[in-house]
């Protein structure tokens, strides 16, 4: 490795390999590939962690909470307040959904930071599936609650009649592009963060292959990895928060379209 790593154009680590999906249990359902993959495995791990955290932490149901119970209650109240403050009181029935969404994305992101783990949210199809669920759910809820009046969402009040077609067109386009921005934001953040970490890890190996001088040089990218891991932890939490709060804002539009 030491000699080969110095070859021009060669890089000891493939930054994209961590996003590879490989089948653990091949399955076919109705002609579709439904194999249990590493992605599925880590989604199941996430679900188990979330369930264990929220159920076991509340095991004693103590009046004065312990550490885990306090943390579980903190997440509960954080999301509860987020839904109530951003989507309104009427949207509180969607609180379990937003809570599941936040916890799922948050735990997937954080678990994905562990070495050898797979980050399910680094695949556009997963984030897009979540975003399109939110989009369709919000749109159907809006139409169910307000009927045709829901489409007033695209007609802002106080706009001159001349500009109205243009404004409505812009509003419709921005509404339809919501699931794209919603999903790409999370996907791109996770993807970029993991690639960056992997590239710096590759630098460490490249330097390390150069001998004693290389070991000294490798300290710098290693320090970068440490700093970036902290940053990625922040991004993991922040992107879950952003995804959840945007869901709340879209819900707010469905609840109160005529603003």
């Amino acid at each position: 490795m030491a000699a080969e790593a110095e070859h021009a154009g060669s890089f000891p680590v493939d930054p994209l390999h961590q996003f590879m999906i490989h089948k653990i249990v091949p399955l076919q359902i109705g002609g579709y590939d439904a194999s249990f993959t590493n992605s599925s495995l880590w989604m199941v791990v996430t679900a188990c962690v979330v369930t264990a955290f929220t159920v076991l932490a509340m095991g004693r149901k103590a009046m004065v909470p312990g550490r885990f119970q306090a943390a579980a209650e903190m997440f509960y109240e954080f999301i509860y307040n987020m839904v109530r403050d951003n989507a309104g009181h009427e949207a509180i029935r969607f609180f379990p959904f937003v809570f599941t969404l936040f916890m799922f994305i948050f735990c997937t992101n954080v678990i994905g930071l562990f070495p050898y783990a797979f980050t399910a949210t680094s695949h556009i199809i997963v984030t897009f599936a979540l975003a399109i669920t939110v989009f369709l759910g919000v749109t159907l809820t809006g139409i169910y609650l307000h009927g045709f009046k829901f489409f007033r969402l695209f007609v802002p009040s106080g706009v001159p009649v001349v500009l109205l077609p243009l404004v409505v067109a812009i509003e419709v386009i921005s509404y339809i592009s919501r699931p794209i921005s919603h999903s790409v934001r999370l996907f791109a953040n996770m993807l970029a963060g993991h690639i960056t970490l992997e590239v710096f890890a590759g630098f460490v190996l490249t330097f390390g292959a150069m001998g004693t001088v290389g070991y000294v040089g490798a300290v710098l990218p290693m320090a970068m990895i440490v700093a970036l891991t902290g940053l990625e932890l922040l991004v993991a939490a922040l992107q879950a928060y952003v995804f959840a709060i945007l869901t709340c804002m879209y819900l707010h539009d469905a609840m109160h379209p005529g603003h």
Binding site: P15, I29, T37, M58, M63, E73
Partner: protein, 207 residues
């Protein structure tokens, strides 16, 4: 993630932890991007855009997310909500109790202060009454003793006056007798009683 890297010839193959079988079957070609970071073209291209994996990802996402949603909405969240609600109730009832206890304390303090003020007023009244009664009694006794003393003084003065008058009357009789006796001795004859009396009276008047 370096342990199961799959690479083609000419690229490092002795990774730290060795290769994983199955990963190597993908044909890779080295592509160097403009940034200088080499990338490998996987069989499906960029893994997140490999449509062959979409169906299984979506199916498992729906399955896992659905189960997680059911677990959260049916099991986990109601439990947390119950605990939080119970705590909120407990705190508000405790606060209520504390409030009522405080009201009771305040009432007790007010009652105590009222009783205290009443007792004070009563004590004051009793003291005033006693003082008045004692003053009246003392005054009465003083008046009585003053009256009896005045009576005694008057009686004493009367007896002094009587004694004086009697004494003065005795002086005249003695003077008359003495004068009569002196005149008899000097003249050898009995003195005229009336004249002696007159002389004595005149002398008494002069003195």
């Amino acid at each position: 993630m370096a342990q199961d890297m799959a690479v083609n010839e000419g690229v490092t193959t002795d990774t730290p932890t060795g290769e994983m079988p199955g990963a190597a079957d993908a044909a890779h070609e080295h592509v160097t991007t403009e940034t200088g970071v080499p990338q490998e073209a996987h069989s499906g291209g960029f893994p997140p855009f490999n449509a062959q994996t979409f169906s299984s990802q979506v199916i498992w996402l729906v399955l896992v997310f659905g189960v997680l949603y059911l677990l959260m909405s049916r099991l986990a969240l109601p439990r947390i909500a119950r605990v939080i609600e119970e705590r909120r109730k407990r705190i508000s009832s405790d606060l209520e109790q504390a409030g009522s206890a405080k009201a009771q304390t305040d009432a007790a303090i007010a009652a105590y202060e009222k009783a205290f003020a009443e007792a004070r007023a009563k004590a004051h009244a009793i003291a005033q009454e006693t003082r008045d009664r004692l003053t009246a009694e003392t005054d009465k006794q003083r008046h009585e003793s003053e009256a009896s003393l005045a009576g005694k003084i008057a009686a004493a003065e009367a007896s002094i006056a009587a004694t004086k008058t009697a004494a003065l009357a005795n002086v005249r009789l003695v003077a008359v007798d003495v004068a009569g006796a002196i005149v008899t001795r000097l003249l050898g004859e009995d003195a005229d009683k009336a004249a002696t009396e007159n002389a004595v009276d005149a002398a008494l008047k002069r003195s």
